[in-house]
């Protein structure tokens, strides 16, 4: 529980009183007591660590603009960005920027995941393939490498 501010301006807490899901905010006015707020906090994170062009480089081809493939690639890139940020957040990383990827291993992991999602269109447990060429490769086969590059899952202590 928040108990006030010391003379140095540091926040003081009574650690024997735990209040879960507590959000502390500043009442920006003069000479106010602590006041409980009512309401709902909402926030939206839009991570843009990798782009469609990055994924096209990884896939080795470009998709036709304004096509269903292009729509799917847009969705796959957005999903991979959101997944990478969320999994790293869950694993205890504090990534400072939603717009700039924290490191190149995270970048490649995110690109690979977007590419895998794009390739999995129409697939369930194996990639949809032409019959004489089918290798029976399972979908999700890259996940081990992707998660290593992202640095997840690891035990996180909060």
């Amino acid at each position: 529980m928040f108990t006030g501010i010391d003379t140095a301006g540091d926040l003081q807490f009574n650690t024997s009183v735990l209040i879960p899901n507590q959000v502390l905010f500043a009442l920006t006015a003069n000479d106010l007591d602590r006041t409980a707020a009512a309401g709902t906090i909402t926030y939206t994170l839009t991570c843009t660590w990798v782009s469609k062009a990055d994924v096209e480089d990884w896939l080795g081809f470009t998709v036709t603009p304004a096509s269903s493939d292009d729509d799917l690639l847009t969705i796959a890139v957005a999903a991979a960005n959101a997944y990478a940020y969320r999994k790293r957040q869950e694993a205890g990383y504090f990534d400072a920027s939603l717009g700039t990827v924290p490191s190149q291993d995270v970048r490649l992991g995110t690109i690979m995941y977007a590419g895998a999602l794009y390739r999995e269109r129409g697939s369930i447990d194996q990639y949809a393939s032409f019959d004489p060429l089918a290798t029976g490769t399972p979908t999700g086969g890259s996940m081990g490498q992707i998660m290593r590059l992202l640095g997840v899952n690891r035990a996180a202590v909060y």
């Binding site: 896939l59 080795g60 081809f61 390739r119 697939s123 990639y127 949809a128 393939s129 032409f130 004489p132 060429l133 089918a134 290798t135 029976g136 490769t137």
Partner: protein, 118 residues
């Protein structure tokens, strides 16, 4: 007339050399070096007409990347067509799965026939 030394190996190397002159086609003759999309020249089949002259059939595997979807197929056909345009004895083109080590690749098998003599 004496038989050429190393005729089998030279015949194979000549086919590889011809393929490596094709612009836009990366050709490997060693499975350790594969870097798809590419062409891999497999071990030849040899039929002797005499001790001096023989027919060599070489299987060239056009190897693609990723799952065998439409993008992969079109890339394989593009690369296979480069071999046809080179006019070096292509007789057969068929889809296949190529296993290199434990890795399976979507591929096309191209059969190239050559007659080797002294």
């Amino acid at each position: 007339m004496t038989a050429t030394v190393d005729a089998f190996r030279l015949g194979y190397d000549n086919v590889v050399d011809e393929l490596q002159t094709i612009t836009g086609l990366t050709v490997f003759d060693d499975p350790r070096n594969l870097n798809p999309p590419c062409a891999f020249v497999d071990a030849p089949v040899i039929r002797m007409n005499s001790n001096l002259v023989f027919d060599m059939t070489v299987t060239v595997r056009i190897i693609g990347t990723g799952p065998a979807d439409y993008k992969c197929l079109t890339k394989l056909l593009e690369l296979a067509d480069l071999v046809r345009r080179a006019q070096i004895g292509l007789t057969d083109v068929r889809p296949a799965v190529t296993t290199i080590g434990a890795q399976e690749y979507a591929s096309y098998e191209l059969t190239i026939g050559a007659k080797i003599g002294p």
